[in-house]
């Protein structure tokens, strides 16, 4: 365990303890929490002084080794520089906060968040494992979300916090994707291992872009910069910490670490970094010039400076990297100082508007000196540290004689001109103005804060003056990124050279620009694009809401037809696409063999259309029956009498069942309110139909093995003892299947019974007018007995001729339906004067027993046996064991029909109690029938 773990743990512990301490100590809790950065600072100094011997040590503990996630830390000189910056600025900000939050009841929560944030930031810079780095990275996103939205109730702060979180967290996820890509390619997640063994190729390019996305969002680079000015809603100490030394710097840190890895391997790295960084530098400076809120001005200034740092670290030129390290420290010092100055001004004057501030130079003297020093460092004036960094950077670019370096120089000078101009605007706005300060008394609190603010400025001054001795800090830090800079020097005064000339140009130019700010203001207003980042972001979010709402309203409206339409349309979109590419219709396809076929098809098509367009449920139900009849007709034409017979009967019974159900529903279909909807429904239906036809034809033409039917045709008589192949299959070859099916049928019938038993009142059923139609009575009287006898014939003849138990049962069922239509339930009860469940159970039992008989006869379950008996007069009677099986099927089918009729036929009809459940809720029955 390295000592750095203890520092991280200390942050966590103090963060956890902060609310408790705040309860008794108020804002002094910030001093308590300052122990964490202070300890880190001491540790950093000790580590730096004791020499870098063990500073490079990597300490690793496996956490989730399967994912490559290891708790590996690495504290090299560069990391040490960072811990120094983070903790040094941290101490200042924490001490400052103790005064800033005096009397604020929410200081406990703030202390927790800020301390946790400091710990997470510390984690980022010491993590060697990329996944660990990611974890800390997202922790800073979360804690900064809480810091920005710290005034929980202010809606604008919450919105700004959310924007910051979404942008940075999204970037973080992109970065994670990049890390994973690297890890997969190089099979290591260790930063230090990557330096020795950089990835290359497409994977590396994608990873580099993803990592840059993470860095750019975090460092507020164009076009992701917009969250940063919004984040100024945070309390000023948080802004000072987040936007000088931490948070936004994390992106810079990431670029610094990855530039040596990617700058050669990934050709797009340098152009991307340069373009984005330089543009952001100029853009940020330009926008900062027209701000009137000091804090927002500084925020855009930060955006600009971050662009500069991104360029310096990202360009991957060793001498520039050294400059970047100096600039990094300088920026942390002057920017934290300036933000803290704003806090002083804000607390003293109650405003940050540079148009109303006046006379502060006299009333806040210390603060003013601090601001001037810091701003001078930001402008890059000697003898401050900012000057050292900028000179070094310009020198580095001048020495690089690549094609791009002159362009970079021009852009950097342009950015510097703007920097000088907005720095001057900051000073003039904050401390200028001849009128006396309206607030006469400077409180002790504000004085303390001013002193703390000055610390960074003075450090910047000392840093500049002591630049040469401080090389022992800067050069090793840069060398741990670019080993070749190890022997370089850092000097305050490098003599009169081109870099100094450029600096002079920038300074003079900047002052000229500042002097002509008013004229520039007009130009800016003309150039100003009337869209801001916030409006674009908020517009995108609200667009997201609208689109989502609209989509859910149309697609997810709870309508089954719509759902089904979506599924069907997608289903067919996919296979139809495949089929259109590679469709193969049978070569010998014939449109139609006879006019009869055409007529049947027309019947089908006509009734189908009728069913679709009809507004009345009854008509639609009848039309669907018509479709079935048409199909049955086609079966007849093709010679499949058995099939046709079954189809006819099934259709008839279905229509009857439908009609019985429809009595419970309104007569008309509900109107479709959406006209376009009907058209769409029609279109989807048409596409579905056509696709199924094409699919069927294709399937028919794709046969590669001989048809299975030949086998059955050959074996039906010898093995099954019957000439009707369909029936033989049902009762013999696949008898087990049939047994299963009738079992299901029985269960379904019982299910119908019990379900309809609990049917709630709902729409009262329209009564069928039974028993008053003479025509129907005559017809039924004539047909029903004949049909019943015929059904018996079908049952017994079925094994050799068309028919069988199933068809027979359906015919009997149809006869019973007719009888029901004539006389209602009473009439039905006279023919079947017992509980129809007896039919269901009995039929199933008989069928099963037949099978058992086969078993007892020494064969298999359901194996058929033949019996031949010479009967006088009639001749030889042949019977197989398929017959009783068929009888069972017959009984089940009849039982089902009677059950359905009895149940659907509504409780309000007169009947005996035969079909009434014990626990039924039907009306008292009437003995006898009205007919």
């Amino acid at each position: 365990m390295s000592s750095i773990w203890w520092l991280l743990a200390l942050h966590l512990a103090l963060a956890a303890a902060a609310p408790v301490v705040a309860r008794s100590q108020g804002s002094r809790v910030m001093l308590f929490c300052a122990l964490a950065p202070a300890a880190t600072l001491v540790w950093t100094i000790v580590a730096a002084v004791s020499g870098g011997a063990d500073a490079d040590a990597i300490t690793g503990v496996g956490w989730v080794p399967e994912l490559g996630l290891e708790l590996t830390l690495r504290v090299d000189a560069f990391a040490l520089l960072w811990t120094g910056i983070i903790s040094g600025v941290g101490v200042a900000v924490f001490v400052y906060s103790a005064s800033y939050f005096e009397g604020d009841p929410d200081v406990g929560a703030f202390a927790t968040r800020l301390t946790a944030f400091a710990g997470a930031m510390l984690g980022i810079v010491v993590a060697d494992n990329l996944l660990l780095l990611y974890v800390f990275w997202e922790l800073t996103s979360v804690t900064s979300y809480l810091l920005i939205g710290t005034k929980d109730k202010a809606p604008e702060a919450v919105a700004a916090a959310r924007r910051a979180f979404v942008v940075t967290a999204a970037g973080g996820l992109a970065m994670l994707a990049g890390f994973v890509a690297i890890g997969v390619q190089t099979s290591t997640f260790s930063l230090s291992a990557l330096v020795d063994n950089p990835p290359s190729g497409t994977t590396a390019t994608i990873a580099a872009i993803a990592i840059l996305l993470g860095a750019f969002t975090k460092s507020a680079q164009f076009p992701f910069h917009g969250w940063l000015p919004g984040a100024m809603a945070a309390p000023t100490p948080a802004s000072a910490y987040l936007h000088s030394a931490t948070m936004v710097k994390a992106g810079v840190y990431l670029i610094a670490r990855f530039a040596p890895i990617f700058v050669v391997a990934v050709p797009v790295w340098r152009p991307t970094v340069l373009t984005v960084g330089l543009f952001t530098m100029v853009f940020g400076g330009w926008v900062a010039l027209r701000q009137n809120d000091l804090k927002i001005l500084l925020a855009y200034g930060t955006v600009s400076q971050l662009g500069f740092l991104v360029v310096l670290f990202g360009v991957g030129v060793p001498s520039v990297t050294l400059a970047a390290v100096v600039m990094l420290v300088a920026h942390a010092l002057f920017k934290s100082s300036l933000f803290l100055v704003i806090g002083v001004i804000d607390q003293h004057a109650g405003t940050r508007d540079l148009r109303t501030l006046t006379g502060l130079a006299r009333s806040l003297r210390v603060t003013c000196v601090a601001a001037v020093l810091a701003a001078a460092s930001m402008m890059g004036l000697p003898p401050l540290l900012g000057f050292v960094g900028k000179e070094k950077a310009l020198e580095g670019f001048i020495d690089t004689s690549d094609g791009w370096s002159s362009t970079v120089l021009v852009a950097v000078v342009a950015g510097s001109i703007l920097t000088v101009a907005y720095s001057a605007r900051f000073l003039q706005g904050g401390f200028g103005g001849g009128d006396p300060d309206p607030v006469s008394r400077v409180s002790r609190r504000v004085r303390t804060m001013g002193l703390v603010a000055a610390v960074g400025s003075v450090a910047g001054l000392l840093g500049g003056l002591l630049a040469a001795p401080l090389r022992d800090i800067f050069v090793p830090a840069a060398a741990s990124l670019e080993p070749s800079v190890a022997g370089s020097k850092v000097k305050l005064w490098a003599g009169f050279n081109e870099a100094l000339l450029l600096s002079a140009i920038a300074t003079v130019g900047g002052l000229v620009v500042f002097a002509s700010t008013d004229r520039l203001g007009r130009l800016q207003r003309q150039l100003n694009v009337p869209v801001s980042w916030t409006t674009v972001y908020d517009g995108a979010v609200s667009r997201l809401y609208t689109v989502a709402e609209r989509t859910t309203a149309t697609v997810q409206n709870g309508s089954l037809p719509v759902y089904l339409g979506v599924i069907a349309a997608t289903t067919l979109g996919v296979p139809a696409g495949i089929l259109l590419v590679d469709v193969a219709l049978p070569a010998d396809a014939v449109a139609a063999e006879s006019m009869l076929q055409v007529a049947a098809c027309l019947l089908v098509a006509g009734t189908a259309i009728m069913a679709a367009v009809s507004g009345r449920r009854f008509v639609a139900a009848l039309a669907i029956g018509g479709v079935g009849y048409g199909v049955a007709l086609l079966f007849v034409i093709q010679g499949a009498t058995d099939l046709a017979l079954t189809q006819f009967l099934i259709e008839t019974l279905s229509v009857v069942a439908l009609v019985l159900v429809l009595r419970h529903l309104p007569e008309q279909f509900p109107a479709v309110p959406w006209k376009l909807g009907r058209v769409l429904q029609g279109a989807v239906a048409a596409v579905v139909g056509v696709s199924v036809v094409v699919l069927t034809l294709t399937a028919g033409s794709s046969r590669s093995t001989p048809s299975a039917s030949n086998y059955y045709l050959d074996r039906a008589l010898p093995d099954g003892g019957g000439k009707n192949v369909v029936n033989v299959i049902l009762t013999d070859f696949r008898a087990l299947d049939t047994l299963g099916e009738i079992a299901v049928l029985v269960i379904a019938a019982l299910g119908v019974t019990s379900l309809l038993l609990v049917l709630p009142g709902g729409v009262p059923a329209r009564r069928l007018r039974t028993g008053d139609s003479i025509l129907l009575t005559r017809l039924a009287n004539a047909v029903v007995p004949i049909a019943l006898v015929f059904s018996a014939f079908l049952l017994f003849a079925g094994h050799n001729a068309p028919g069988g138990g199933f068809v027979g049962g359906l015919v009997a069922g149809a006869a019973l339906t007719l009888e029901y239509a004539r006389g209602g339930r009473g009439a039905l009860e006279r023919i079947v004067p017992f509980d129809p469940r007896l039919l269901l159970g009995g039929g199933l039992a008989i069928a099963a027993l037949t099978g058992v008989a086969g078993l007892l006869g020494g064969g298999e379950f359901l194996e058929s046996s033949k019996l031949e008996v010479d009967v006088p007069v009639l001749g030889t009677m042949k019977a197989t064991s398929a017959l009783p099986f068929d009888v069972g099927v017959f009984m089940v089918v009849v039982g089902l029909v009677v059950t359905v009729l009895a149940r659907l036929g509504s409780a309000s009809e007169p009947s005996r109690a035969t079909y009434t459940e014990r626990d039924g809720n039907e009306e008292p029955s009437v003995v006898g029938s009205p007919s």
Binding site: E66, A169, L173, V180, T570, V574, A699
Partner: protein
Amino acid sequence: MNVLAQADTLPISEPEIWWFALSPLLTLVGGALLLMVVGALTPQWPRGLYAFVSAMIGGAAGVLAIFNWDDISDNGPATLVGGALAFDTFAMWSTIVISGAVVLVSMLADEYIRDTPNDGPEIYALLLVAAAGGIVMASANDLIVLFLGLETLSLAFYVLAASNRRSDASAESGLKYFLLGGFASAFFLYGIALVYGATGSTNIGEMVTSLANRGDSGNDVLALAGIALLLVGLGFKIAAAPFHVWTPDVYQGAPTPITAFMASAGKAAAFGALIRVLISGLPSFRDDWQPIIWVLAVASLVVGSFLAVVQRNVKRMLAYSSVSHAGFILVGVEAAAHTAGEADGGMGISSVQLYLLLYSVIVIGSFGVVALVAREADADLSVFDGLAKRKPLLAGAFTIFLLAQAGVPFTTGFIAKFGVIQAGVDAESYGLAIIAMVTAVIAAFVYLRIMVAMWQKDVEDDAPAITVPVSAAIAIGFAAVFTLVAGLYPSLLIDWSDAITLVR
């Protein structure tokens, strides 16, 4: 003369049945029958006993699966019952996930259905039957067997969704699920028929052999159309966009513990089936179905996260988020597709199974909290206002689940998402991995909204009291602790999931 008896013409040898390998399945089926029969013949059992027995049966099935897992690790995978079922670590993993879901959901359901007309053995029996169906789906080595499992699961789900007889929404949910599910099943069956036409077999092993030997001459239209239709059926079951349309309505209407079961066991079963069909059965066509998986994944990610944002009802939000999770899991499937049929199958399948396990616990916990908070009321977001002040522990648990769903580090959600992303990147599906990442941010909006409501809003005065029964508290507590502990120390689970293989 029965076909089975035609020993001279069609030699059929009786399949050898390896009873112990089937024991998890038999335990669930036997348990369901036991509950039904004994429950019907005896008077009302004491409080909680039905749920306890159900949880015990689920637990027993899970333990048996662990024994079988050891057996497979020692002796290698095999097929059972004449090649109908696969006996491999993949099947056992799914069995463990589904059995675990039975245990947790039984504990949630106990108090939920107390004093309703459903306070009997039926709900639990249906849960067990559905679980058995799900296990068959994930273990099937034959398309017909897979379909049997699918229907067993689905029919039980239809009834369970409609089981709250006091609620119209529940009835509507069941009916919608039934009708749409019927269509999906029909598509699936049609697909089986076409694939059978193309390959001459429904057995997955034989399909692979037949397709590998098919040469160039064959017309693939039949097989391709069949695959497309199979994908519709499976897409419906995994609730991948655009076949997800039923999900919000059904998840919202169904009794909340049932929703939890659908989102956990239902997804695990359906993804198991998807992988059996595509990765095991149809690797020869992987270039054809892989783009479809890609599209389904993107559509699910986008639809699931974007549409969740505007929901007001927490159950609907979680329903949409389950769609986006399906998208994430599909990222893993897509990764596995790159190496389907090869000896080194990559990490796709392991990542998918790990995701399913971790997500199941998270989602059961989430719906468990919703079941308690929005017991009677509609689960409108406002019901959750100020939950942190009323029930801090419950709000804390829910926060853990929501963070996990968002994929925040230190929770299992992160491990799950990381696994599939890693698999995707390993298979060089960069685009998909990045889309998944981006949509995860949008999805985070939703979780953020619920958390803000719980922690920052004030309690409504007339809010009904929330009681937390012991069994539900144990289930939710376990889920929360698991989500955190396994999020911190996932090594063991990852090691186990790496051992997942499919029988070949």
